[in-house]
Symmetry: C2
Subunit: 524 residues, 2 copies
């Protein structure tokens, strides 16, 4: 009798990755990922060449796997560095915006800001696979920190509250109300008698309710929300309980939004970041294919016919022009730039490229003299949230317990907040970040501040936005047109995936793109 | 006008640590700890000596601070190593139990089991202070991992479920029921109209409810509980939603117990562990005072009179006896051993020493050939819970993404589970851990197993238990008697604190003990 492993192997050989995937799911494996291992592209025809546009993660992984399969590969990259949005801003780096505003980062050696991707979910198996394969070291990214602050300008007189206090109070009040509702028989139509008894007992435990099913101040609530005086040792060791917030007060906090954030599939712990900065990933990928990549090369036009595809380009430092011809093209240029490029593709793809708006996040790094948030506030990693434009501040996950200087993420502004900060000058952004972030650490924030740098993605010339933001209707109309091969050209990148804004999406889209090129090339 | 900082400093000088503490709280600082910095013991009288019994963390910190204050200090320790319960079992280490059962650990170099303390809360400021001061490097301890398994033999046909699925379903059903209850007017007496509207909106968001305030299967629920087919890239990138569990099924899981566990004040993220093993802390403390410590020394009798306190002891390797006299004694010997010792103290202290039962946890380390839980199950750190005797298995927080062998915590058995495993031979314990842990990883668990080691605390001769377990009534009757100075002797250790079982409790109790000795000594 074949073992389960044999079965999987047989299915794998016979039916390809999707059949394998479905079989794994059926046999009880969690369906954490569409990644089933690097592509096995066997039987590549001789002398065929693939042109890859863009040396972000999608382009780099496409180049790596295509060369491994036997294709000739050439990569053209606009910037003078690989990695695309996978990068880190360090001391000495220059940021030039559309409109000319220029910043030079002043961080101390070893400090950095990850302006693009900054955290890796445990189920992003494609990215984790290549990080391991390419020797990129990872360390935990502290996502859920119960001791951070939550600030809502409409609640608590604008005074930030600790996450744990609001979260424990929210679940306490919810349990209190539902428990009483159940006991009063209000849900007897919906819930069986047996389930009702179990649920009341569950709520009593979950909500820290007292004998009357009430959520009240005392040592029980304090055992989660914290104490006015924490437990200690010796003669005065006894703790003093804290006072719970009323339901009305808790409802001014939007705490459930933040509690839910941590339950988001892509935001759940355990998460990771590369040791030493996010750009370690781009550099790790680049090391594998650096001989195939032409940096500082601006693509000006793309044509194709029945024989091949041609990219016309300009060498940015010298102004020299040239052209590259290949059999196929994997095009990872971000849509805001690509849709302005002269590219010979059909109307459906052109329409799709214009149908996807990009978000305009703004990240700001603030270098602080000391890690005051650790010693004084007991906050190690994680995010303090606010309804101000900056959105949140995030505490560094590296070098915890060490001395400063350290870089705090002073803003991760999205939507209206991103629009607001993106419209400011770099100096105004720093001032806004200091003014708004001071709400959490009023005594230290300006005093410990050394310097800051911002990346307003909508003003970054090589992308003009941060990440694709498919609407459901655009997805229904345009997604398949965007990812379909147009003649000899296929698009890849996070925008060509259901994981918009995630490195995993760019990698999975690139693997899918090259598998389809390989199918065409081999006539399979 | 004095600044807030000046005020605090003035209060600090005038009123001592407690006044400072209360002032900090009143001025809006979170009361995360009773620790306000290392003790400032000035004006120690010349030629006074303190005897410290036990070189666990309480004894070591007492010795360190007393010497700094100017006292002569001598420490007697029963074992041939410092640290007490703060230790790590490594390859080559021997564990001898009451009854004679002996194990020799077979772990590979660099691998270890932390049989005692294993995680450090972010608010245990005393411990964190000394770790920093003594150069003990810390790394994140992954406490809350949404992707671990929860196993309840009474639910889901005994099949483990992912934490995230049950937790999201629980909050979904709770929100669904409370939302409907509120909308039906069942709680109109308890909740104002305005709060009701806000709360219904909050529950809709928190519970991922649909337009009818129902928690149902679909992409919305899947955006937190995970998908049958995760999102991907390219042509087949669309995800497939997962199916939610019914309320009845969720109620068989006790998931709220595990969800609540993570909300426990001392269990909340961010948490830490020392790099390289828990014993790095004991070693770090020891390095400061090693010249004061006499290891392998068994105290046989303690007497005191108006002039001093004397400990009679035996040098274990040679059998030679001796005695040490001092002005005061800080006694950190654990109560199960201390209560059997001939010690000249009053009846209230003797009664207190007998009033505190100790728990009998059992920890088992299983060395596995590979880190299969990472690559195959996407589990990095955290705990999979079960209602079997082992209680949980816990995944290592060090060397993530590396290759094996690695040590899995195969059991953290408490209460009845600890009693059950403690009653077994070491070989039986390993077999039980393999049989029970296999429920989570049936294909790999026995196949990847190399060797194992167990520490059943109730059978460890130098302590005969794991940690103190004060009942509320024993606390009310005996706690102040236990911590009070009895003549020239004062007890310290986690048992002399409100942080039973935590290193923080032992440190805070030791600091309190030496402050009181110093008061006596200086006549303050």
């Amino acid at each position: 009798m074949p073992t389960r492993r044999d079965l999987l192997s047989m299915i794998g050989k016979a039916g390809g990755a999707i059949a394998m995937y479905q079989a794994m799911t059926a046999l009880g494996h969690a369906a954490e990922t569409q990644f089933t291992g690097p592509p096995k592209l066997s039987g590549a025809p001789k002398g065929k060449k693939v042109l890859v546009l863009g040396a972000g993660l999608a382009g780099l992984v496409a180049a790596y796997e295509l060369r491994k399969a036997g294709y000739a590969v050439e990569v053209l990259e606009y910037q003078d560095r690989p990695g695309g949005r996978n990068y880190s801003v360090r001391g000495g780096d220059k940021i030039v915006e559309v409109g000319g505003a220029t910043q030079t980062c002043e961080f101390q050696p070893g400090n950095y800001l990850n302006p693009g991707p900054w955290r890796i979910p445990h189920h992003h198996r494609t990215l984790l696979h290549y990080c391991k394969a390419f020797g990129v070291e990872l360390e935990p990214f502290i996502q859920l920190n119960h001791n951070v602050f939550v600030h809502n300008s409409k609640g608590f007189g604008g005074k930030p509250q600790r996450y744990k206090e609001l979260a424990v109070d929210f679940k306490g009040h919810v349990s209190d109300l539902l428990g009483k509702s159940l006991n009063a028989g209000a849900l007897d139509q919906q819930v069986t008698k047996e389930d009702k008894e179990k649920l009341v007992a569950a709520l009593r435990e979950w909500g820290l309710l007292d004998g009357n099913l009430s959520y009240t101040s005392g040592l029980l609530a304090s055992s989660q929300r914290g104490y006015d005086r924490a437990p200690g040792g010796g003669v005065n060791g006894a703790p003093t309980p804290s006072k719970i917030n009323s339901l009305s007060d808790v409802l001014t906090s939007d705490i459930w939004t933040h509690m839910n954030f941590f339950f988001n599939y892509v935001m759940q712990t355990t998460m990771f970041q590369p040791k030493g900065g996010m750009d370690m990933i781009g550099k790790g990928f680049f090391k594998q294919v650096s001989d195939l990549v032409r940096l500082s090369t601006k693509v000006t036009r793309i044509t194709q016919d029945s024989k091949g595809v041609t990219a016309y380009w300009e060498d940015i430092p010298t102004g020299k022009t040239g052209q590259t011809t290949a059999d196929w093209c994997v095009n990872t240029i971000p849509l805001p730039v690509l849709s302005q490029l002269d590219m010979q593709v059909g109307a459906p793809l052109k329409a799709a490229m214009k149908a996807v708006p990009y978000s305009g996040q703004v990240k700001i790094g603030l270098e602080m003299r000391s890690r005051f948030w650790e010693e004084k506030y007991s906050i190690y990693g994680g995010h303090s949230f606010t309804d101000q434009a900056i959105g949140l501040i995030s505490y560094p996950n590296d070098k915890m317990h060490k001395d400063g200087p350290a870089v705090l993420l002073g803003a991760f502004a999205r939507d209206a907040g991103g629009f607001m900060l993106g419209g400011m000058t770099p100096a105004q952004r720093i001032e806004a970040a200091l003014a708004q972030g001071s709400v959490f650490h009023p005594e230290e924030y300006r005093k410990e501040f050394m310097n800051g740098v911002s990346v307003a993605w909508s003003r970054i010339p090589w992308i003009l936005g941060c990440t694709s933001r498919w609407s459901d209707s655009a997805r229904a109309t345009h997604y398949q047109n965007l990812v379909a091969m147009d003649g000899r050209i296929v698009l890849a990148g996070e925008h060509a995936s259901y994981y918009g804004g995630w490195m995993e999406g760019s990698l999975l889209s690139a693997l899918d793109a090259i598998e389809r090129i390989h199918q065409r090339a081999t006539g399979a």
